[in-house]
Amino acid sequence: MQVILGLALGAIFILLASGLSMIYGLMDVVNFAHGAFYMLGAYAIYTLNRFLGNFGLGVAFSVIIVALMGSVVELTLLRPLYKRNNPLYPLLLTFGLALAIPDIIKIIYGLVGKSIQYPESLMGSFLLGTLVIPKYRVFVIIFTFTILIALWLFLKKSDLGMILRASTRDKEMVDILGVSVPKVMTAGFTMGIALAALGGSIAAPMVAVEPDMGVNIIMQSFVVTVIGGLGSLGGAIIGGIIIGQVVSLTSLLAGAYADVAIYFAMATILLLRPRGLFGEIGRE
């Protein structure tokens, strides 16, 4: 049962880590604000759920709205920084955003956490022999899996996906070939944010929706991304699964050390294999 919980947790991590990885791979920007967008996704579904009543629609709209916010951020705040050629600046900017955005939410929604009900169709659990498996967790796992497949297909088979992958490898070449790189970066950033928002929306019923929920998850997502290797989608997936299990199992066995364990794992893996499990050489 812990394994299932771990997988569900891992699924959320994967969503966040893939977004982070994509943004880093494309723009060399470590998006500290990723957790903030995750949180925005959760708050979006919370708000929309009351209006729409339909969870699925709510998730869809949450993702769209937050992704749009992401594009605005990229266009107005990040773009002026690219010409400075120093990856430090966008990183610091996202850091500032990570501080400011939760506070804005605190003003709008207050300090107290909110909670969302599981959607009707996904409440309750399955019985598998003696195991009680919450339906929603299974949903999260399957849904994330589907999204990942869709993402993979998009990246591999579609034109835009190909352009994105190419830009991750060699921006200048793509530019020379006539593609508008700034637009690609905006698109990539938006996609990454969309993934974060998606993670936030579907995580919302499972966790406490509070303004600071992004703060802890961003660090954990970094762990996943870095373990898998910045820039590698496959790595993000494996990393997510591993970390999901690590958290889940250590919570069970040695509660107090759960949080410490992830960072310990990250430090270990980074020290042994500097670029992460699947990261590309030369990115370090």
Partner: protein, 333 residues
């Protein structure tokens, strides 16, 4: 007279700074001034790694917190004197910064920063839960007795002004040490690493060793600042280990000017002062901090002192020597 004049020339900025610091408690509330000194020291230490050596770290709160908890534990459990506790805190921080630095030094840029952040988080969570019995967990380490200094003469640390001047003495000595350190040939090596590490390595220097050394020095001062913080507060808050505290060092350094000597101190001053005054007015001042960050990055990435320096360099190129110019030169580093 010649020697004195030489010393005066070299150290004029430091004298100016000390003068300002001496007068600070007359202008600002004393606790705020003390906090500025402490965070200033922290940021100055941080800048040794970031501004001078080019190593970005997102986990310096670990060393600040280690210094704080080290001193706190010495006070609480071993009834140590003020000097011993300061030493303990600084030593603990230096020790760990040495180890962590040595472990991580081979990694570049982002990976390095994140690795340090990971260690920082580890310390935070260790203090939060597993080591709760020693560290006091979320409540922080309390139960520190009322402090006073006995040697070389008695200083009652319960009195805010005495406390301020005590901290000032320690910070002043640290600044002098840092200045000598950074102005020395070794300091030039650090800047060389920041500018072009490969080239320095081609010249035959063991850059990894230098980086670890620099990082430990940075950790030392961060830890010292943390220990002073414990003395100042009378207890050790858990968030001294929190990543936000790391970000604060970064913000202050950025605000004042990365790579300038007094930048971090100035940045600390501005930041703490703003924090104190604004948080009295506005409940949610983190937006302001975040907003400040964003604004700084977009408009003034060099920070206050950095921008001044840049402007003066531009200025110096277009005007001929005049009294004005010489006065500016006197102020310029």
């Amino acid at each position: 007279m010649g020697i004195l004049k030489n010393i005066a020339d070299k150290y004029r900025h430091i004298f100016l700074a000390f003068l300002i610091l001496l007068c600070m408690p007359a202008v600002i509330p004393v606790p705020t001034a003390s906090t500025i000194l402490i965070y200033g020291l922290y940021a100055l230490g941080y800048n040794i790694a970031l501004g001078y050596t080019g190593m970005l770290s997102f986990g310096h709160a670990a060393f600040f917190g280690l210094g704080a908890y080290g001193a706190g534990i010495a006070f609480r459990y071993f009834n140590a004197s003020v000097w011993s506790s300061l030493l303990t805190g600084a030593a603990l921080a230096t020790f760990f910064s040495l180890i962590i630095g040595a472990l991580c030094v081979r990694k570049r840029g982002v990976y390095f920063a994140l690795l340090i952040a990971a260690f920082g988080q580890m310390f935070y969570f260790l203090a939060l839960s597993p080591l709760k019995r020693i560290t006091g967990g979320e409540d922080g380490l309390r139960g520190i007795p009322v402090l006073s200094v006995e040697t070389p003469f008695h200083v009652n640390l319960a009195d805010p002004i005495s406390l301020y001047f005590f901290i000032l003495v320690i910070v002043a000595i640290s600044i002098l040490v840092m200045h000598r350190f950074l102005q020395s040939p070794f300091g030039s090596l650090l800047q060389g690493i920041r500018e072009n590490e490969k080239r320095l390595r081609a010249c035959g220097y063991n850059t990894n060793f230098i980086k670890v050394f620099s990082f430990s020095v940075s950790g030392l001062f961060a830890g010292l600042a943390g220990a002073l913080y414990t003395i100042f507060l009378g207890y050790v808050p858990l968030n001294s280990l929190y990543w936000l505290t790391s970000g604060t060092a970064l913000l202050m350094t950025l605000l004042g000017g990365v790579g300038t000597f007094f930048g971090p101190l100035l940045g600390a001053g501005i930041f703490i002062y703003f924090e104190d005054t604004i948080s009295a007015i506005v409940a949610r001042w983190e937006i302001i901090v975040g907003g400040m960050f964003v604004f700084l990055i977009l408009v003034f990435p060099e920070g206050v002192l950095g921008t001044i320096r840049k402007k003066m360099e531009q200025f110096g190129q277009t005007e001929s020597k005049s009294v004005q110019e010489r006065m500016l030169n006197w102020l310029k580093k």
